[in-house]
């Protein structure tokens, strides 16, 4: 195939991809409009399960947005060359995913039309309000960071802005985890452990997303990732997955030690139906054990397809984990009167059911669509594809 013919096909494929992603975004916006006009009655959410599937998608995107910037931080802050080459793509994905996540979160509001109120009225005691400031700042800092990386005159500032972005990102994910950590009322939340746990979750989800996107981009242009770089990245991914697993164990072990939390733990780990299945099969088996086995396998771990597959499984596991954490914790009833059997017309003492609806799913997918569409277009117009300088890399490999 000659070069011109390839270019033509590639261009068509690009427009087809943009159109497909645009359609996903359009469906998401349509779903949001439907929810806005009819009210949340058309969703599966109710007065018992107040945050549903849109929040699972939004949280995934926001947490992964912060984590995907880790790749740039390892390059700029810790001076690793192979990650430096990936810093622009990492910054772009961070902005795109945060934009997608926040759009979902915003469009799920009961009064999405009052966005201006959210931007002008702040209760500084609220960690949610703090998050609004942290998210806005994140956009600004990462955009500046991208500028220092892509504009030759600004190269000198890159390290400093990168450091600021690194600190900001840690603060942001701490605050995201604290949205749940500061909830004293519910048994699944109200733990300071959630803040560091969200940070490590962001590392894992973010790197998994990065690997998936990078693999896709390399396949698109017919490039092959250097095996040494692949090995580095998959080892790091395995470490992060292991760390999330460790935090999960500590979280549940702590709960199991407190008598007042036994019923909640029994619900999540044994009797919670869909939540129990999602925990064991989704988070632990698909999101942790299988990817770890692949990544640490002496031969499979060296194959880029296998690494790509494990990154995809980690993302699926992430959705399962967030579903159990956010929705499972609401499904378990509040214990207003310990030691008493409770019943009421408002479903006190009963396990709350949640059946996610199509509009919620479409809205969530719309958020992913926004993130991918922004990335696709930006990659097309600017130089975001990781280009490795192998002379520098081989030097670094020798010193490691």
């Amino acid at each position: 195939m000659n070069f011109e013919a390839f270019n033509k096909i590639e261009e068509r494929a690009f427009y087809a991809l943009v159109a497909a992603l645009g359609l996903v975004v359009l469906f998401g916006l349509g779903a949001a409009h439907y929810m806005e006009t009819h009210g949340h009655i058309v969703t599966g959410m109710n007065n018992q399960i107040v945050w549903g599937l849109p929040h699972v998608f939004a949280l995934f995107l926001i947490v992964a947005a912060s984590g995907v910037l880790n790749v740039a931080s390892i390059g700029s802050v810790f001076g690793k060359t192979i990650y430096k080459a990936r810093a622009p793509l990492s910054g772009l994905l961070a902005i795109a995913m945060l934009a997608g996540g926040l759009t979902v979160l915003m469009l799920d509001l009961g009064r999405a039309d009052r966005l201006i109120v959210a931007m002008t009225h702040f209760n500084f005691k609220s960690v949610f309000a703090l998050n609004v400031i942290l998210y806005t700042g994140f956009f600004a800092i990462v955009a500046t960071y991208l500028w220092t990386m892509m504009e030759r005159k600004m190269y000198g500032y890159s390290k400093y802005v990168g450091f600021a972005a690194f600190i900001w990102r840690l603060a942001l994910t701490t605050a995201t985890g604290s949205i749940f950590g500061f909830l004293v009322a519910r048994q699944g939340f109200g733990s300071a452990l959630l803040a560091p746990m969200f940070i490590i979750m962001s590392f894992s989800y973010g790197l998994a997303v990065f690997i998936v996107v990078q693999s896709f981009m390399y396949a698109w242009v017919g490039m092959k990732l250097d095996p040494a770089i692949l090995r580095r990245m998959k080892n790091l991914l395995a470490t992060f997955v292991g760390a999330v697993f460790y935090f999960t164990i500590v979280y549940h072990m702590t709960n199991m030690y407190f008598a007042k939390q036994w019923a909640f733990e029994r619900f999540i780990l044994l009797e919670g139906g869909v939540f129990t299945s999602l925990f064991w099969i989704g988070q632990i088996l698909i999101g942790t054990f299988i990817p770890l086995a692949i990544l640490l396998h002496p031969t499979l771990g060296k194959k880029s397809r296998a690494v790509f597959l494990s990154a995809l499984l980690i993302i699926l596991g992430a959705f399962a984990q967030l579903y159990v954490l956010i929705i499972g914790s609401q499904a378990f009833p509040l214990d207003l009167f310990p030691g008493m059997q409770q019943s009421s017309s408002f479903f006190d003492g009963a396990i709350h059911a949640y059946h996610p609806s199509l509009p919620e799913f479409l809205l969530g997918m719309g958020g992913i669509g926004i993130a991918l569409l922004l990335t696709t277009v930006a990659v097309r117009v600017l130089r975001f594809i990781p280009q490795d300088d192998f002379r520098q890399i081989s030097k670094e490999m020798l010193t490691d």
Partner: protein, 252 residues
Amino acid sequence: MSNNVDNTTNEKEQASGRRQFLGWGAAMAGLAIAPGITLFDLAHGRAPEEAASSKVRWGMLIDSGKCATGCDDCVSACGTENGFSGKLETDSQWIRKIELKDMRNGNSHSLPMMCQHCENPPCVDVCPTGASFKRADGIVLVDRHICIGCRYCMMACPYKARSFVHEELHDQNPDVPRGKGCVESCTLCVHRIDRGGQPACADACSAAGHNAILFGDLNDPNSEISKRVASSATTQVRADLNLNVGVRYQGI
């Protein structure tokens, strides 16, 4: 000497006259003010331009011993007063009857549960825009103009006291503005309180002859609610959270 005696007598008479005058004066003044004070005491109402005062803390004492199982007059009265009905998972319920059964001894209780009007309300802490707020007189409310419908307050409330309006509303009570996409909860019938009345649930409970809900000012040592809170053992639900709630329970 006799002059001296006369002078002393005169002075005594004069002093007694002054005292009498002052006494009468005070009595007249008292008589003039008394109806006002009595009315104020009876009504607790205040002028529309007057702000709610932190000298008052409105609260309720609920005696579960007097609350009848199966009776939900307070719930119906609340619905009629504030304009909602329905018991679906998406319907608003500002007040609900909880039936309790002690798993250790089999004792059962019945009680109404609503916003507990905490002194340190978690819903106010977490609200990003400040739409959830506590009035000076202790009533926890939602400002419908700046609520964005994020439902974080519903996640934070330990009493599941808040509801989200899931669909368009019709035939609303003009005193109680509500709206699709906003969060709402028991207002302690603030519109009634400001006119000198008491919450609809408390009225309904009295009308049914149960008198299980006592409404009053927790800050006034002479109010019946304060006296009963001072003299008998009362409970705060989820006292472990140290929220110092305005709604107290007796008999659980």
